[in-house]
Symmetry: C2
Subunit: 206 residues, 2 copies
DNA sequence: CTATGTGAATTTATTCACAGCA
DNA sequence: TGCTGTGAATAAATTCACATAG
C-alpha cells in the first residue's frame, strides 16, 4: 500500500461492507472474493478492492478474502473494536423508536443516557434507561459519552448540540431538519428522512 | 443555460435548498443572494449558483433570487407541485414513528396505506389509517400509490419490495439494513441509520 | 489459472474567475 | 457596484487493465 488520501466515499462504504459480511457469514464459506462480496452488495468488484486497498492489503491473490479476518480489520479501522456510549436527546416518536433500534448494539453502540425537556417524561424509564432533564446534559462530562444523537424539534436543535459539545461530546448524529453549526473538530452526520423521501418523485418518469 | 447532464449530487442538494428557503422565509426578505442562502445552509455560494444553473436561470444579476419564486421552481423540478401518496410496510417502532413524522406532509406526502403481517395490528387504526394485511399489497394497483416505505425486518425486505413493485410502486425508501434488488426503472433510496452512526468513531481522534 | 492490489485513464463533481446584466 | 450564470481549471472518485502473488 502506497500513501493515499482516503476518499470520504470509501469511508462511507466501509460500514456497508461490514454489514454485508456480518449478515452473509452464516451461508458463506470461510473465504470470499471481491466479486462475490460486490454482487451481494450491489457494487463493483474493483470498487471493493480499491476501497480495501486504501487501508491495507487484506486479501490473498488467487484466493480472496478471509471473511472473519476481514470483519476484524474493518471493525478496527472503524474503531468498532471497542464499544461506544451514546446520549440521545429528545424522546419523541422518532427518539423512542431509536432507543429500541436493535442494529445499534450489533455494532457495539449503547445508548447510555437519554434526555428530554418534558417533565412528564423525565424520571420515566425507557428501554432500561431513566430519562433525565436536558439541563443535566453537562453531567455527561463525567460519563465517557462521546456520541450524541439529536432527535429534538429544530427550534432547539442548535442549543442541544451546543450543550452536547460543552459536555465533551465529539460527534453528532442529527435527525433535526436543520444544519448544525459545530466546531471543526466535531463530526456531524445529518439524517433528514424527509430529504430522502422528497427526491423520489424527481426520479419517477411520469 | 446550455445542455448539461445534471449531477446526482445537485439533485441531492436541491431538497436541502428548498428546506432552507421554507424554514427561513419568515425572517428573510423577499430576495436572497446566493451568498446568504449558502451561509444559512453551510455551503458555498458558487455551489448554490451552479446547482441552480443546471435547471435554469432563476436569479437576477445584481439582485439575487426571489424567494417565493425560487421555492416554486425547486418544487416544480422535484415534482412537489403535486401531492404524492405513499404506502408504508411494517408498523414496528420505526414504522410507527414515521407514520406521525410531521415533515412528510410539509412537502406534500401522504401515507395513504399501511401494511403489516401481525394479526394483532391488522385492522387497527394508526395515525388515521387502518393497517392492512401485507397480502393485500397488490390492491395498491388501483389506488395510485407510487411510493413505498419499507420498515420491515431484513428477512422479508426483498419480498416486500417485490410485492410493492408488482403493485405498481415506482420508488422505494428502504429502512431495512440490506440492499434491495430492483428493476432499473425503479428508484431505491436506502437509509440505514446504523450505517451513519457506525462511521462516527472513525472521525473521532482519540 | 484465479483473484488481488494499484498505477493510469476516465469520468464526475467542485471551485474558480470573470463576462455581462441590473 | 453587486450578484448571477457559466466556461475553464482543478480536484475527487470511479473504472480500467494488468503486473504480480498464490
Amino acid at each position: 500500500m502506497r500513501y493515499h488520501k482516503i476518499p470520504d466515499e470509501a469511508v462511507r462504504r466501509l460500514p456497508l461492507y461490514l454489514r454485508g459480511l456480518l449478515f452473509s457469514s452464516q451461508d458463506l464459506p470461510e473465504k470470499i472474493s471481491s466479486r462475490k462480496l460486490a454482487d451481494f452488495l450491489g457494487v463493483n468488484p474493483w470498487q471493493v478492492r480499491k476501497d480495501f486497498s486504501y487501508f491495507g492489503e487484506f486479501g490473498t491473490p488467487g484466493v480472496g478474502y478471509n471473511v472473519e479476518k476481514l470483519i476484524k480489520q474493518i471493525k478496527k479501522i472503524l474503531k468498532l473494536n471497542v464499544s461506544h456510549k451514546a446520549a440521545l436527546v429528545g424522546v419523541g416518536n422518532l427518539g423512542a423508536a431509536l432507543l429500541t433500534y436493535p442494529e445499534f448494539k450489533i455494532y457495539g453502540f449503547d445508548i447510555a443516557a437519554v434526555f428530554d425537556n418534558n417533565p412528564k417524561k423525565i424520571g420515566k424509564k425507557m428501554a432500561n434507561v431513566v430519562v433525565e432533564d436536558v439541563s443535566n446534559i453537562g453531567l455527561l462530562k463525567k460519563r465517557d459519552v462521546k456520541i450524541g444523537i439529536i432527535t429534538v424539534p429544530k427550534s432547539v436543535a442548535q442549543e442541544t448540540a451546543d450543550a452536547l459539545f460543552n459536555a465533551g461530546v465529539r460527534s453528532i448524529l442529527n435527525f433535526s431538519p436543520c444544519s448544525i453549526k459545530a466546531p471543526k473538530k466535531i463530526k456531524v452526520v445529518n439524517i433528514d428522512i424527509a430529504m430522502d423521501l422528497v427526491r423520489l418523485p424527481y426520479y419517477m418518469t411520469s
